[in-house]
């Protein structure tokens, strides 16, 4: 791990912490209700929530430009929301409605909105990395100055795709921001037992790129680091790896009872709730009152609830939708 890059919030533009808090509140409200709706059978398929990891999405999302690219994982709702995807279209998609953002053909694991730069959640562990590196390649080739973010978990770093993609980003000096959410568990398995060197950031040295570890439950810290890293990418200084240490509150998927997690470990991480971390600081700095923060959370919950009510009323896709979009029309 390198600590050569000094991340200083003043050197890169970052949004106020209140904005990061609002993003986290939205993700928290969204994921909380999605977990309930899945449990109640309202949402089909598989669902993986990011409860407890909101600070990473909010922090990185807050540091990006609107036209930057995001490729994410099966646990991607938070990243999508933080990068500007609409709650309504996302919720309708999770409900498998024809008016969903992917017309009911993507679902939770494949949710995407390329018009917002979100290239998609991805159900293949590690797949976000080569795709984001390719998006970074496009940006560089076309001279766009866009940064491509690959979100991945620490479970993905033992995939060949991680190794190959990071090496490519390094040798081609691409504007790729590699964001590892280290949430301790790779599906059911303690990932510290799956590598002789559990630190993801340490691996960066093997590719000749820089990396930094950050408290993944502190949105402001994540945002400051990500803003600096994105600025480096835009300056042509190549890829940067962020290892955000955080914790997955829920199971690998909704319904996973998590017998493999020690109670005290889970409890201690919940005490470091990312919304509480930011909320306490906002109050201490006089930037918000407890009531104001409650109102932000209530507004987020109301927005999610409205999206749920709308999604419930929407029809499923027309049967013909199943046959649309397999191939694009060849121009004459």
């Amino acid at each position: 791990m390198s600590t050569k890059t000094k991340h200083d919030a003043a050197s890169s533009k970052t949004p106020p912490e209140s904005q990061l808090f609002a993003t986290m509140a939205l993700i928290r409200a969204f994921e909380t209700r999605v977990a309930e709706l899945y449990r109640d059978g309202d949402i089909p398929g598989f669902v993986h929530t990011s409860l407890g990891q909101e600070a990473v999405a909010a922090g990185v999302g807050g540091a990006l430009r609107e036209d930057d690219y995001v490729a994410t994982t099966h646990r991607g709702h938070g990243h999508c929301l933080a990068h500007g995807m609409e709650v309504e279209g996302m919720m309708a998609e999770l409900f498998a409605r024809g008016a969903g953002i992917c017309h009911g053909k993507g679902g939770s694991m494949h949710i995407a909105d390329p018009s917002k730069g979100v290239l998609g959640a991805n159900a293949i562990v590690g797949a976000s990395l080569p795709l984001a590196v390719g998006a970074a390649m496009s940006s560089k080739h076309l001279g766009q100055g866009r940064v491509a973010v690959a979100y991945f978990g620490e479970g993905a770093v033992n995939q060949g795709a991680f190794h190959e993609a990071v090496n490519l980003a390094a040798i081609w000096n691409l504007p790729a921001l590699l964001v590892c959410e280290n949430n301790v568990y790779a599906e059911f398995t303690d990932s510290r037992t799956m590598a002789r060197i559990p630190s993801v950031a340490q691996r960066a040295a093997g590719y000749g790129i820089e990396a930094e570890v950050v408290d993944g439950n502190d949105a402001a810290a994540v945002c400051a680091l990500a803003a600096d890293a994105a600025a480096r990418c835009r300056d042509g200084r190549g890829p940067f790896l962020i290892e955000a240490e955080t914790y997955r509150w829920h199971g690998h998927y909704e319904g996973d009872a998590q017998p493999y997690k020690p109670d005290e470990e889970a409890a201690s991480w919940r005490e470091r709730d990312p919304l509480e971390v930011s909320g306490a600081r906002l109050i201490a700095n006089g930037e918000a009152t407890g009531e104001e923060l409650e109102r932000v959370r209530d507004e987020a919950a109301a927005r999610v609830e409205a999206a749920i009510e709308r999604a419930r009323e929407l029809p499923p896709p027309e049967p013909d939708e199943a046959y649309a979009d397999v191939f694009g029309e060849v121009p004459a």
């Binding site: 080569p130 795709l131 390719g134 080739h141 694009g328 121009p331």
Partner: protein, 328 residues
């Protein structure tokens, strides 16, 4: 396309090279990515001279890292480039199937058309030179089985150029299967190329329809030219996806007999699918059952003697055609 070269390409390999050059020239979004494709000019020299002509930004050398660079090429295709990505041998695709199978083939669909993936996966096959079991496979049926991929197999010099250009211009992922046994073959370019998705009647005939692709086209044409052979109508399929069933059915309706010949292993091969479709459509009009000739279901052995014993020959094609005529 408006090719600026005066003389038509002479060899299949030159036609591929010319097709890529024309694609790079006509569209600034086109890049070529692969192992040794740049300064080295490619292991078979298919990309020879392109690096010098267009520079390292357009013709990009990748490490031996197919999962990485094929995946990155898919990501690049999603975001505005039109990559031609080379997988050195078709057999090597096993290490990079995810970007093709789960990403390129599905992301347009899963995003309801919001993502476009214009990419060409160039790879080559072609048994017959003792390359062994890991350098000799024809796996086109794998890709034809995955919705969302086009699968193209040029068998002629003209198609090497024209189908490659058509594949680059196509807004969909295309698996482009070259045959290295044809790299040195010579022919003329077609002044009026058939579009991608249309089969070509390579030789008209009346007794048996022989459907083939890749290097087997040559063998089938040889069989048709043999003295005393039945009159064979040889069809070069050109692409498995889209499948030009119309041309196959029209010819088979006329001859009443269909023989499918491919280099790939016969079991569960593309010939089986085509035979089933033709059988379902023409059950009452077929004079004989649809027959297939492909490689037997064994890995390709190293020994040249064993290898040539496994690959379909022109003699086997004409013998099978004669049997079909004798059957009914």
């Amino acid at each position: 396309m408006s090719s600026e070269t005066a003389a038509p390409p002479q060899r299949y390999i030159d036609a591929l090279n010319e097709g890529m050059a024309a694609a790079i020239e006509e569209d600034e979004r086109v890049v070529v990515i692969g192992i040794d494709v740049g300064a080295g000019g490619g292991i078979f020299r298919v990309t020879k001279g392109l690096h010098e002509r267009f520079g390292p930004e357009r013709v990009i050398d990748a490490p031996i890292s197919e999962m990485g660079y094929v995946g990155a090429a898919v990501g690049a295709a999603m975001t505005g480039l039109r990559p031609i990505v080379e997988i050195m041998f078709m057999d090597f695709v096993g290490v990079c199937m995810d970007p093709i199978l789960n990403q390129a083939a599905k992301l347009r669909y899963m995003t309801a058309g919001a993502l476009e993936i214009p990419i060409v996966f160039r790879m080559q096959t072609g048994a017959g030179k003792a390359a062994g079991a890991q350098h000799s496979q024809s796996l086109e049926a794998w890709f034809a089985h995955v919705p969302g991929l086009k699968v193209v197999m040029p068998a002629t010099v003209a198609d090497a150029r024209d189908l490659l250009l058509a594949s680059v211009r196509d807004p969909n992922p295309v698996v482009f299967v070259e045959n290295r046994r044809l790299y040195g073959s010579k022919g003329d370019v077609d002044a009026d190329p058939l579009p991608l998705g249309r089969a070509r009647v390579a030789r008209p005939g009346s007794d048996v329809t022989v459907l083939t692709w890749g290097q087997m086209l040559r063998r089938c044409l040889e069989a048709a030219g043999e003295a005393g052979a039945p009159s064979l109508e040889v069809i070069d399929l050109r692409s498995l996806v889209p499948l030009d069933l119309e041309t196959i059915l029209a010819s088979t309706r006329r001859t009443g007999r269909l023989l499918i010949v491919h280099e790939a292993v016969q079991d569960f091969g593309a010939g089986a699918e085509i035979a089933a479709r033709v059988g379902a459509e023409l059950f009452d009009e077929l004079r004989t059952p649809v027959r297939r000739i492909g490689a037997p279901a064994v890995p390709m052995p190293f020994s040249p003697e064993l290898e040539s014993a496994l690959l379909p020959t022109s003699k086997a094609v004409s013998a099978a055609a004669q049997r079909l005529v004798a059957e009914g």
